[in-house]
């Protein structure tokens, strides 16, 4: 039998944009409230969100032998989205990568699959609701990544696990629809509560825990999420998570606890989706040194507003006239495959002779003319400085103007790239930027994934 694996690292990514409830209410003529929802940008999807979370895991150590990618909003069907995650992490050809796509239960599925065999669970979702819906208002977009490995290295271990399954109509969506439908919520509540009770009690008994330190309940049914957790008293008050984030929600909830849990503390993690999965976890002595660099509370606090009309346009719910420009050309298969290290992992080449860095990689050195004397130069984790910039109001973009910056990377290398998550008046020469994996455009159903720059928040 395999040794059970523990969580050795985790990281989350919340997109930078916020949709103010007040703006939403004003547009729809309803009471909006004072909060906001976390919204993925026009160039983000579940794949890019997942990659951003996975990139934030500490580097070094063992390369994950498997990637389990969970989402309810897959960017592709009939094509493995986990393969793009694998490529963006620069993992080469080795290893297994699979999608667990469908309901929010995929999130738990990815965690359990990675826990059973070791590997990386990446949970990511863009949670879209029709205008005026609870999913729109109370949903969230985001991603969480958990690396499972040697129990001796673990920052948290799974000490008990119980699952129950039930078939009933609570929420559903056919693959061609943009948003889910829901049955009357009280029916869902009555159906879920006994399942939560059973799974939770049995898991606590199995773990021999009377009162857990932390209790987290994730459910796409908001009534269940509110009422279910009260079934199990916790010693430590619950923290704040961004809102229900589909398959990523269970991961964001767990990560939020790991941001705070003290060594030895226990966590009852309940995921009520078409049944209930109950996990009891215990933080180890390594938790203090293994917390993610940017806790969820800090990610929630940072943000920039997006207008409701822009948000609807980004989600394809407001069909606006296209610019008078030709649609971008489709990213072709063979060139994309040849340039996988460049396109997906942002790896340039560096001349062994003179050190000149080439973005994209080149065979003939533009510094000294040497041929085939290159070594790979990965730049996805390298920051840079803006040399010059522009805002293109003519370019084809779902969110004009398109901002472009010329970036000099620390340690060598220059590239001209789009700037994400910024407005034209925020750009200046000398500005510090970092890289982010985004979707440039989609043509003929092909997502053109590539890297953009985005402003660095902590160096201003």
């Amino acid at each position: 039998m395999n040794t059970p694996k523990g969580i050795v690292a985790y990281a989350t990514y919340l997109p930078r944009h916020r949709l103010r409830h007040a703006d939403l209410g004003a547009a729809l003529g309803t009471g909006g409230g004072t909060g906001s929802r976390v919204a993925a940008s026009f160039d983000e999807d579940s794949t890019t969100l997942g990659i951003e979370a996975a990139r934030r895991l500490p580097r070094g150590g063992e390369r994950p032998g498997a990637i389990f990618f969970a989402t309810t909003s897959p960017a592709y069907l009939d094509k493995t989205n986990a393969a793009a995650v694998h490529a963006a992490l620069g993992l080469g050809a080795d290893g297994f990568a699979v999608d667990l796509a469908g309901s929010a239960r995929s999130g738990t599925g990815a965690l359990l699959a990675a826990a059973a065999s070791g590997g990386l669970a990446v949970l990511a979702d863009v949670r879209t609701g029709l205008p005026g819906s609870a999913d729109e208002r109370d949903g969230a977009d985001g991603a969480a990544a958990f690396l499972f490995g040697d129990p001796d290295e673990a920052i948290a271990e799974i000490v008990a696990r119980v699952s129950v399954t039930a078939e009933f109509l609570d929420r559903w969506r056919t693959p061609d629809e943009p948003a889910a439908r829901r049955w009357e919520e009280r029916f869902g509540l009555e159906s879920y509560l006994p399942l939560v009770t059973e799974a939770g009690r049995r898991a606590l008994a199995e773990a021999d825990v009377a009162v857990p330190d932390h209790v987290v309940l994730s459910s796409p049914n908001p009534l269940v999420a509110r009422r279910g957790a009260a079934l199990f008293p916790a010693r430590v008050p619950a923290g704040r998570t961004p809102g229900h984030a589909g398959a990523a929600d269970v991961g964001l909830s767990l990560a939020e606890v790991l941001d705070r849990a003290a060594p030895g503390e226990t966590v009852l993690l309940l995921a009520a989706v078409d049944g209930c999965d109950a996990l009891v976890l215990r933080a180890t002595d390594r938790i203090e040194g293994g917390r993610q660099a940017h806790p969820i509370s800090a990610q929630l606090a940072a943000g920039r507003d997006v207008s409701y009309t822009a948000y609807l346009t980004w989600r394809g719910l407001l069909d606006r006239e296209a610019p008078r420009r030709p649609e971008p050309e489709v990213a072709a298969g063979p060139p994309s495959a040849r340039s996988q290290a460049w396109k997906f992992a942002f790896t340039g080449s560096r001349c062994r002779g003179c050190g000149f860095v080439h973005l994209p990689p080149a065979r003939v050195c533009k510094g000294c003319g040497a041929v085939d004397e290159m070594e790979p130069r990965p730049l996805s984790g390298v920051r840079g400085t803006v040399v010059t910039f522009t805002a293109d109001r003519l370019a084809y973009s779902p969110s004009p103007p398109l901002i472009d910056v010329v970036v000099d990377f620390d340690g060598g290398g220059r590239y001209t790239m789009e700037l994400a998550d910024a407005a034209p008046d925020e750009v200046e020469i000398g500005m510090r930027v970092e890289t982010t994996f985004r979707r440039l455009h989609t043509t003929q159903g092909v997502h053109n994934y590539f890297w953009k720059a985005r402003p660095v928040e902590d160096e201003r």
């Binding site: 971008p328 010059t388 910039f389 003519l394 220059r414």
Partner: protein, 397 residues
């Protein structure tokens, strides 16, 4: 580089140029026919059948030599289609000149044409080969790419952005004022500086009037051996230098490049001056037709072509140095700003202005006694371009 050159070995003896503009009722064929007919009418007694070979420049308005041979019903003559981005028309001219200089032919024609307005799109559009979708030019438009020069120039030379804005406005104002005097220009209205500065933004600080227009047009030149030129005309235009450079693509990757110059222009200008024997372009060149695709481009070109000190072109422009009455008139015909930029035709349109000026046929734009003229084309974007420079003159020697 270090080409030997063909100074004074070939001459232009006739030219044709359509009006540039929105030719909704003319096809590519119509534009070609009109330009070639004007050219041949200028040399009575010479027939198109006497032209031994043709070079056709077009970016996207037709493929192969058949674009020209079918339109003109040419009788089994060699027609070469060339393309080199915005230097396409100049490239057709360059190759045609070399063919005569080589001794292979005695009479050839370079023709350039572009039909842009039929696409229905704003700005230039291109057909790119299949790619991985990562190239910046897949997303960034030409005005945006050239607008990168503006903040970089201000930063490098400590120019107040208001001063730079005023200089860019001056370039647009000057070229529209020149174009207003030209019956073949697309735009023939003078535009006030207030209107230019207040125009809707296109990219960076570039407004609508900082960008050349989109137009249709064609232009052509009949080229013969210099010793035969006077058989056709009393006022031939002699080719002094033809220089083309294509960038290695280094600048776009090179932290040493600062986006205030086009290295390829500097190189092609040096090459052209050497071929022509020009040692001081500021005093020896009588007029220059340069690639003012966007207003900051023209400012930077003044420095790269040696017409201004580095960091000073914006000030020289504001001082009127490059106006019709200035020390070195630049784009006296109105430039790309007034003509629009039908890519394959632009380089030959520039030569057409030199042709008119040398013959004293430039009307209200006429300069007094011009002897030596420069044309310049730039294709690509800051960081990697093809650049063409020619020097032509009204006299041998």
């Amino acid at each position: 580089m270090s080409a030997r050159g063909i100074k004074d070995r070939v001459a232009i003896v006739a030219m044709g140029c359509t009006r540039f503009g929105e030719h909704w009722t003319s096809s590519t064929d119509d534009l070609l026919i009109d330009a070639v007919r004007e050219c041949m009418t200028a040399v009575p007694g010479t027939d198109l059948a006497d032209v031994e070979a043709f070079w056709l420049g077009t970016l996207g308005s037709g493929q192969s030599g058949l674009t020209l041979s079918r339109a003109l019903a040419l009788d089994y003559r060699p027609v070469t289609r060339v393309e080199n981005y915005c230097a396409t028309g100049s490239e057709a001219f360059r190759n045609a000149c070399y063919a005569v200089a080589s001794g292979a032919y005695d009479r050839v024609m370079a023709v350039g044409v572009e039909k842009l307005k039929d696409s229905g799109f704003s700005g230039l559009t291109r057909m790119d080969p299949p790619g991985d979708g990562t190239a910046a030019e897949n997303t960034l438009t030409a005005p945006a790419a050239f607008s990168l020069l503006d903040p970089a120039y201000c930063a490098r030379y400590g120019v107040d952005p208001a001063g730079m804005r005023a200089a860019m406005t001056h370039v647009a104002w000057k070229n529209h004022a020149n174009g207003a005097l030209n019956p073949k220009a697309q735009y023939r209205a003078q535009v006030s500086k207030e209107k230019i500065a207040a125009a809707p933004l296109v990219a960076g600080r570039l407004g609508v009037f900082d960008c050349s227009g989109v137009s249709d047009g064609a232009a052509c030149a009949l080229i013969v051996r210099a010793e035969d030129a006077h058989l056709y005309t009393d006022h031939p235009v002699y080719v002094k230098a033809l220089a083309l450079t294509a960038a290695p693509g280094r600048a776009a990757m090179d932290p040493g490049y600062d986006y205030t110059t086009f290295p390829e222009v500097v190189r092609s200008a040096q090459d052209a001056y050497r071929q022509a024997g020009v040692t001081d372009p500021r005093t020896e060149i009588s007029l220059a037709e340069v690639h003012d695709c966007f207003t900051p481009t023209e400012l930077v070109l003044m420095e790269d072509l040696g017409f201004a000190e580095c960091g000073e072109a914006w000030r020289d422009a504001l001082d009127g140095a490059f106006e019709l009455g200035g020390r070195l008139p630049v784009n006296p015909d109105g430039g790309l700003k007034s003509f629009g930029h039908p890519v394959g035709a632009s380089g030959l349109r520039m030569l057409y202005e030199c042709w008119l000026q040398f013959r004293g046929e430039a009307g209200r734009r006429q300069l007094s006694d011009p002897r030596l003229a420069l044309t310049h084309n730039l294709g690509g974007r800051p960081g990697g371009c093809v650049s063409f420079v020619s020097v032509v003159g009204s006299e041998l020697g």
